[in-house]
Symmetry: C2
Subunit: 205 residues, 2 copies
């Protein structure tokens, strides 16, 4: 971390991508509010002003972090195709394996930020409703009357998995091998999607 001269650096380098990467992990680790542009700049070995030069405001930087070359919806499509009797298992597996990719890091950034920031929370809800749940309902052909509760229940289990395993790192879940998690949680998701829920029929216990 030597003192850096002013002005443009020699050679060609994709500093912009470096900043996005640093920002993504920073947002994932600390959330939107707790992440400072100065931290991101330091991690990318760059002046804070350069971050603004590329991305404008801090909000814009956050949006750039969420803007991925791979659409999470594609992963979902893959998981939904196949035998409906094991959709739950495939969904959980897709989720767990995706977590180590940039998609997962962006997801961590989004979820962690949403819990602490009302504006990001709205963004998160819109994404889950419009881009995930809607697609799930359509592809699985869930009855319109039951669909909202069923998908919300799935969201609750998946969000809980993300929170405990990744955001809070609670053992032994945090370091359990993927297939253990898949075997344990998959059936839950399966039941929420297709199982017999007294709740959705309006029946009370």
């Amino acid at each position: 971390m030597m003192a850096r001269r002013t002005g443009r650096r020699p050679g060609r380098q994709d500093t912009r991508a470096t900043i996005v990467k640093a920002a993504r992990t920073a947002f994932a680790d600390r959330g939107f509010d707790a992440t400072t542009i100065r931290q991101v700049a330091a991690a990318a070995d760059v002046d804070p002003a350069l971050v603004h030069h590329y991305f404008g405001t801090k909000n814009d930087l956050f949006l750039a972090v969420l803007d991925l070359p791979v659409d999470p919806a594609a992963l979902l499509e893959e998981a939904v195709a196949g035998d409906p009797a094991q959709v739950g298992t495939r969904l959980v597996r897709a989720f767990v394996t995706a977590w180590d990719s940039p998609v997962g890091t962006a997801g961590a950034a989004l979820l962690r930020s949403a819990v602490g920031n009302t504006t990001v929370a709205r963004l998160f809800r819109d994404l889950v409703y419009g881009r995930i749940a809607a697609r799930l309902v359509r592809r699985l052909g869930l009855p319109p009357q039951e669909a909202p509760l069923r998908t919300a229940l799935v969201a609750s289990q998946i969000a809980g998995l993300a929170t405990t395993r990744y955001l809070l790192a609670m053992e032994p879940l945090a370091s359990a091998p993927p297939e253990v998690v898949v075997a344990a949680v998959g059936p839950t998701v399966q039941r929420y999607l297709f199982g017999d829920l007294p709740a959705v029929t309006g029946e009370q216990v």
Copy 2:
């Protein structure tokens, strides 16, 4: 909100309790980092310096917020007593109904803060392990080898419920009547506690 004179106020009043209450809802709504002492002071109609006078640092204020007259462990004891075949349902019901009490508000403060703050996260983990999970294992007589994963899975579903229903307010879960949630989620918790989990036997799928 008229201009307030300096010095002690006439009459007797429990300003300290007022501050704790204001701080509890503030921490629950915004989390530790996003909550400012000035906000708490304003909500309690008091000068920021008074908050320090009573509680010292912001951390101490947070701990005071978590220090409740009612022990959450007591609620748990109540739910575990009775037919083991419906422990899952009773646990979820206890959780959902407790949420509107100060215990629930403190829980929201703790969870929301834990997601955004490493120090609080450690506090949260210690509480779940030592005060909740340990008691659950003991009272239900779970096999020591399976217990950690089983309780962690329960934690994941409960945390997910808290996150989606309360912290993020995702519909229709956020405004679903308690018994709907209990009927839907109870069996999941039941299975995590006593059900057949290929994962806990070391068997891989």
